[in-house]
């Protein structure tokens, strides 16, 4: 049996339990009348707010943003490669692995990022980068690819890669908050950077 399947089940169950646990903490009813549309804020949070020009943090770090995009696409491609061989996906996975290496190097080199890092940051990066690299190297690595995939899946709910689920919940709440306040989405005339 492909070890990725039980690992995937483990990952899904634990992430699901964590999300349910978060949900069980509840949402407070809100009494102040909204100034904007929370739904529009959520839509913006998942679209315009994620675009490079919408964030100063990205404008100042375009390389990291690009590496992050490549990393996530590469990992997604690697998951697909567990089931479907494809040269295009392998190229994407290779790009992701290289991006993962660059982000790891950045974490080691930059003082504030190094100080911010803990073992989980390195283990998470190592597992995801190795997985993408092994997937990219197929078919030579086809025997170990399911195991690399399983290792990553087992680790996901235990470390920071759980953000693959909480990212959506976090952005949803941020969008709803700023949407309600009328901050999201910014009107076209409000986008002025001097």
């Amino acid at each position: 049996m492909n070890p990725a399947l039980p690992a995937g089940l483990w990952c899904g169950l634990l992430l699901g339990a964590q999300l349910l646990r978060a949900r069980a903490l509840g949402r407070r009813p809100l009494f102040a009348p909204a100034a904007g549309d929370p739904a529009a804020g959520v839509r913006y949070a998942f679209t315009g707010a994620m675009l490079p020009w919408a964030k100063e943090s990205v404008r100042l770090n375009p390389g990291s943003y690009a590496a992050g995009i490549a990393y996530h696409l590469g990992i997604a491609a690697a998951f697909a490669l567990v089931f479907v061989p494809s040269r295009a996906l392998a190229a994407l996975a290779l790009l992701g692995a290289l991006a993962g290496c660059s982000l790891l190097a950045k974490r080691i080199v930059m003082p504030h990022l190094r100080g911010l890092s803990n073992a989980d940051d390195f283990v998470s990066n190592a597992l995801a980068t190795a997985f993408a690299g092994i997937a990219a190297a197929g078919p030579a690595t086809s025997r170990i690819l399911p195991w690399a995939c399983a290792a990553l899946l087992v680790y996901i709910p235990l470390g920071k890669i759980r953000h693959c689920a909480f990212f959506f919940l976090s952005r949803y709440h941020l969008g709803a908050f700023f949407g309600r306040r009328g901050t999201f989405p910014p009107a076209a005339q409000e986008r002025l950077h001097g």
């Binding site: 903490l25 504030h112 709440h173 002025l192």
Partner: protein
Amino acid sequence: MVETIDLEKGLQAFRARLGEADAAHLNACVHCGLCAQSCHYYRMDPQLENVPARKLDLVAQVFRRHFTVLGRLGLQGAALDDAMAKAWLDAVYGRCSLCGRCSLNCTVGINLPRVFKAARAALTAMGLAPADLQATVDNSLRHGNNMAITREDWVETVDWLQDELRAETGDPLAEMPMDRHGAKILFTVNPREPKFFPLSLQASAKVFWAAGEDWTLASEGWDLTNYGLFNCNDKEAGTITQSLVDAMERLGCETLVIGECGHGFASARWEGPEWLQAAYPFKVRSFLEVMDEYLEQGRIRVDPGMNTKAVTLHDPCNLVRHGGVTEPQRRILAKTVSCFREMTPNRAENFCCGGGGGQLAMGAYKERRMRSGGMKAQQIRDSGAKVVVAPCHNCIDQLSELNKEYKLNVQIKTVAEMVADALVTEPPTGEP
């Protein structure tokens, strides 16, 4: 201090704040570090302790240890102990003005101030809120305003300002009504105005006078400030909010108008109903929205030729990013000044002046406050403006200090002062 901290009380207060959104935010950080440059503390002092993700991590560690299965098994997180409480204090009171700029720049979308407020609530419950900040809250609870101004002094100050208004306008019927029952608007002010900036209050009154507004001040329940927003004690914050609600009910007014104060607006408009767990039976508006409407409806007329110096505008975080009031002040200034220059960046992307989050009331962190304010000082300098308009009295205090510290050589004014200076009024016809 170490012996007296009631950690269990802190955990209970922290737990009481946690909801689905908090759990999401506390589980989502990937330590990418891209939030660093969005923080004015880090920009002006690039050390690890000023990185927003680092501050978040301290809170997340405790969340994981005490409120997750893996944490309870001792596999993740760190316990809330005396050392961690001190670390929290330094991080969420000493290195954060709750401005929320990091939230907009977070790659994941974490609402960091929301989490930091939960940590502040825990520290306050443990008796660790900075004493001078807590004293400000206590003043409001005991005296009805955060500067302990007596009712007599408040009423006398308004009487005196009314005389000044009559002299300035030449209208012997110009009024600053007190406790006028049934007035359309109850106008609330920051105690700094009667105490230190009476001309700012007089300017607001002049705008009301020019618009022919049916308004009143209250002899009790007149303070718009609420430092419960900063010590994050919801009960105390609710009690302070209740005094505004009581004044509205007592006077039977239709709309509560919040003078130029960022945290006061956020407290009354956004947080107050949540603290009280009830919707208000009246509207809450910023004075900026009211003045904007006066201009739009032609109720007041202004001459931009009266304000010829180059003007820039500071965006208070609680009014703009967290309050959603972004454009009224710009529309007003577009009509009342002849040379307006935006800061870069501006609106929701503005930098905090450094005085937010109650920092002005926390003496222990003054040096950090002044250093972090360097971002705003640079923005002002770069704008080339000679007048900085700030629709928030906390910001005005901080900007005034920055003005001296960074030798900016600018004037700091409220929006109402700019409008009052530009008012075009008919010759008075009233009789004394």
